[in-house]
Amino acid sequence: MEHKRPVIASVSSGKGGVGKTFVTVNIGAYLAHRGKKVLIVDCDLGLANIDVMIGVKPSLTLKEAIFEDKIIDDIAIHTKHGFDFVPASSGAIEMAQLMYEDIEKIKEGLTRLAQHYDTIILDTGAGISESVLQFNLFANKNIILLNRELTSLTDAYATIKVIYQAFGRNSFNIIVNSTKNEEEAKRIFNHIDSICKRFLGFPLQYLGHIVYDDVVPRSIMKQETLLTHQDQSTPAINCASIAENIVSWQ
């Protein structure tokens, strides 16, 4: 049987606290809802937290895959949100300082696993460490997340610039998170897009925006996704529309 190459999308932001994990989980839930087979991988190797956000307690994590030679296929767990999930372990110093060989091992495992899925979303850590860069290289679509804060714009741009310099990537999909409204999101996007064109010589792609609303922190507190928490809220509709755009990549 012929299998289409899965979309492997990395989600990075440079700056921490922009909402990478929230966006990853909610887009994953909406993609699963659309009938896609989705795998979410927590690649924030030092300070992982997707498991906390979706309320699962994994017994095996990527740490075991690397240091105890467990097969990555055994580590993936099915969740009530419709997507499968590979957890990383939080607070393990040795995970925060992975060698290139370890990252390669994870990538090999994921390549094997990839054939069972339509979409794989990699939640990379903050910063621009070797592992963040390597997961961005592994992905065939790079999503960059930013919000309305100036530092987030600068860090998102720095991330784009480093990935471009290191691997020659020149196609990045932008999500503006925690924005007031669509107009503001578009203004922020146009701004960073013009800076990329001017200094790096290529344009950015607008993937979508998520408007800030109280339902976002409430859903996180309840360890739920917007799909199950407040399906009709504006941020929920925003996430659904981003998921729709990602479906069109296939």
């Binding site: 621009i128 600068t154 741009y157 691997f167």
Partner: protein, 281 residues
């Protein structure tokens, strides 16, 4: 304090050497440290790294034994000849031969560790002017000074070699292109500081190539790529750094984000404030 090896030490060393089928005895400085550990350490080095260690560690052994004394003398002479074969006489840098050997080693290291290495090809612009107007002695002096300047510009792990004539190369292990650009710029700026450089308008054209774990290159292709970038720097008028490689080419990007870029990003604050006033009005 130096001490002569104890008979059992010598015995052990001899045994190790015979097991390794070494053609000649490996004599290293034994100064109260552990000679056995030293030998094991040497085993972990590559062939030419080991040669270098041997070159700099003088075989000083207090010997009562005439035959061993002869061997030591012979080894000293061999070390001198070996160093001549790897060091460039004029500049004191490693020569082209050593460069080729070391490049091979670093590329193998990249394939093993996955960490990129970079190669800088450096050609002096207008150097011929010094030779033609001030004579070759002055030219040689300038080259020696350039070599010394370059040696001061690099990190402890980098290796600077004289490629030939007024061309130099630097191997930067475990280094990404954007870091290499920064080091290349140090070279470029340092050349202008050498006395006489500005008077004869001598500057450096530097080409950078990055070898990654997935680059399909052999040594010659790697050198050619750095060469290619260097020619581009020359054709653009010299005194600049150009890059080439398996990766998409970039120009200039020295820091992850420059001040100009930061300013451009910050400018949104003003426009957003204006927007806020309009929204409020």
């Amino acid at each position: 304090m130096n001490r002569s090896p104890l008979p059992e030490d010598r015995h052990t060393i001899a045994k190790i050497l015979s097991k390794k089928n070494l053609e000649r005895p490996l004599l290293t400085k034994i100064s109260g440290s552990k000679p056995k550990a030293m030998l094991i350490l040497l085993d972990y080095l590559s062939r030419h790294e080991r040669q270098i260690v041997e070159n700099i560690t003088h075989p000083i052994i207090d010997l009562e034994d005439d035959l061993l004394k002869k061997i030591v003398e012979l080894e000293e002479e061999n070390a001198r000849l070996r160093s001549q074969a790897l060091i460039d006489g004029l500049t004191g840098l490693y020569n082209n031969r050593f460069f080729r050997l070391q490049l091979e080693t670093e590329m193998a290291r990249t394939r093993r560790t996955g960490l990129s290495c970079c190669l800088l090809m450096i050609d002096l612009d207008n150097f011929k002017m010094i030779n033609d107007t001030r004579g070759h002695l002055e030219g040689d002096r300038f080259l020696a000074q350039t070599a010394q300047t370059f040696s001061q510009c690099v990190r402890a792990v980098d290796i600077v070699c004289r490629y030939g004539g007024d061309e130099f190369v630097a191997i930067l292990p475990s280094t990404r292109q954007f870091v290499a650009i920064r080091i290349a710029n140090r070279f470029k700026n340092a050349v202008r500081e050498i006395p006489g450089a500005t008077g004869y308008n001598v500057s450096a054209s530097i080409g950078i190539a990055e070898f990654t774990v997935s680059s399909p290159w052999d040594e010659n292709k790697f050198i050619q790529s750095a060469d290619f970038a260097m020619y581009e720097a020359k054709s653009k008028g010299g005194n600049q750094v150009c890059t080439t490689g398996y990766h998409r080419k970039i120009d200039g990007g020295l820091e992850p984000v420059s001040i100009q870029e930061k300013d451009a990003i910050s400018s949104i604050r003003d426009s957003e404030q204006g927007q806020g006033e309009r929204d409020g009005a």
